[in-house]
Amino acid sequence: MAYLELNNVYKTYGQGSNTTEVLSNINLSIEEGEFVAIVGFTGSGKTTLVNLINGLIKPTSGEVLFKGKPVEGTSHERGVIFQNYSLLPWLTVYQNVGLAVKEAFSKESKSFRVKRTKEYIDMVGLAPAIHKYPSELSGGMKQRVAVARALAMDPQMIIMDEPLGALDALTRGKLQDEILNIWNRNKRTALLITNDVDEGIYMADRIIPLRPGPNAVLGPEFKIDIARPRDKTELNDNESFKSVRNHLIEYLMDIGNERTQHSDVIYELPDLEPKDLR
């Protein structure tokens, strides 16, 4: 039995004639310790999928199973890193992480919680900024706090919803490595939602494209058999990387073209001839 399983999941929004089906017939299974990436266009229902898995919303039909049990509401077992960091701006870095630790380890002693909070802030390299407010941090630092907050709760699975989407390329690459390092240390199950094919291939064991919504469905999956730790500079010359990348991009491009070709509107072009300038 898979660690996380989605069986025939449908999700619709709205009522009556206004219903839009965002996700249709999603089937997904993730094994324990696996790193899976889902890649898709913006607006293809990725965030809806994430919220279904972490328990913020319920599927219209079908089931989401976590360790064989249906997901009902959120749980400390599944840590979430949100797309826009979602730090609480009125709390310092320490307080933001501490709030999560306090809830997840409410039975432990205070000194244990303090130690754990500091340990995770240290892990993401933010010890010098521990008493700063989110407004005083850069985007990359904020995302690190979000990572520390999610991991400090000791989740068994990490769900990342475009965690690096708002960062510049350099910070992004650095944080990718950091997340991989942390993941490598205790091999938690991880699900990464992204719109960057390269990021997905670099980080994941398996990558699955999401056909854009409405009626988003998961496309064929691609296994990535590149030994870890992966080297970003050598990756570009790796045959396996190239073939997966080409296949994926081809697949996504085809979807993109299909989408544009689906336009029902026929534009009437003006009957014009270029003027002869001679």
């Binding site: 959120t74 749980s75 949100f82 701006p89 009125w90 809830e103 997840a104 407004s135 904020k142």
Partner: protein, 366 residues
Amino acid sequence: MSDKLIKITRFVGLGFFEPVIRLSRGEESKKNTILILKKIVAPLASILLFLGVWQAGSQALYNIEADSRIEKAFNGQGQAAAAEMRICIESGDVSCQPNTLPSPAQVYGAFKTLLKDHKVINADKKRFKEKTAILNKQRTSEGKNPIVYTGRPSFVDQIITSIKTVFAGFLLAIFIAVPIGVVIGLSSTLRSSFNWLIQILKPVSPVVWLLLVFMVVKTLTKDSNTDSSFIISFVSVGLCAMWATVVNTAMGVSTVDKDFINVAKVLKLSAFQKVFKVILPSSLPLIFTGLRITFSVAWMVLIAIELLAQSPGLGSFVWEEFQNGANDSNSKIIVAMFVIGIIGFLLDRLMLIIQTFVSFSKNEGI
């Protein structure tokens, strides 16, 4: 050092002094001179303009009033009486002064009179205290009530009473409105069930609130000899003014950013933690906007309420002066008007400072 000074002036809402400080240090003299013109000279000029219009207006009104008096004397008693009236008016005699909008100078004079009056009353009070000190000690040891000063309150005393009333009413409004707003904001069922009631009660006039409070307080304080006029006025002020806070708090609490709510859910915060760590901090800016409106409404209705509740304060001062009809009554009323306006402005600044102190900007965490 002066950077710190600039920060402080900005913090207390006196940011317009910034260019003066910068200019005194010789920084960018052209830019700062323009800023001084814009931020200090222009407002002062507008005040001067206002005083000028006021002076001219009061002069015109004075002339109309004087002419009508002379004409009335002429029609009633003939040429001689009219000439006498003209001389009397020109001599500035109190008995025949036209009673109309006072000029700025007259108002300033009345202000000085009021301050002098305050000094006299203060001295009087002090003397009274000294005189009754021994007697009061004796009375308290015998278990009797001490003799208190029952003379006329001075203008400053009345200002203090008014500020006390407003603060008491404001605190009452906070303690009633914020919890109600939070509870209503948290539950959409409660929100829709109380919405009509709030919408109906919100526009009720201060006078009606006063009468309502009067009915209740009168019965409740029947057996005690407490000063019910103060209770009545501050409770009515609170009830009149609290609606802005109720509505704003409910609004702030019900529209907390979805991301923050999701965080609270993912972290599985307890209900208590969710309210105090996520919902209240994120709705603080709106709550404070509500509180500021409440404060200014409280200060505004105070005058009307004090006037009716017979509570000693600026409201009753204005009313007494109006009833008094003495020569400088009009000037005193205008002094009270400016005092009310300036205190209201200062109190609003105070709230603004507290607001900037506790709030955060909305997009900082995102």
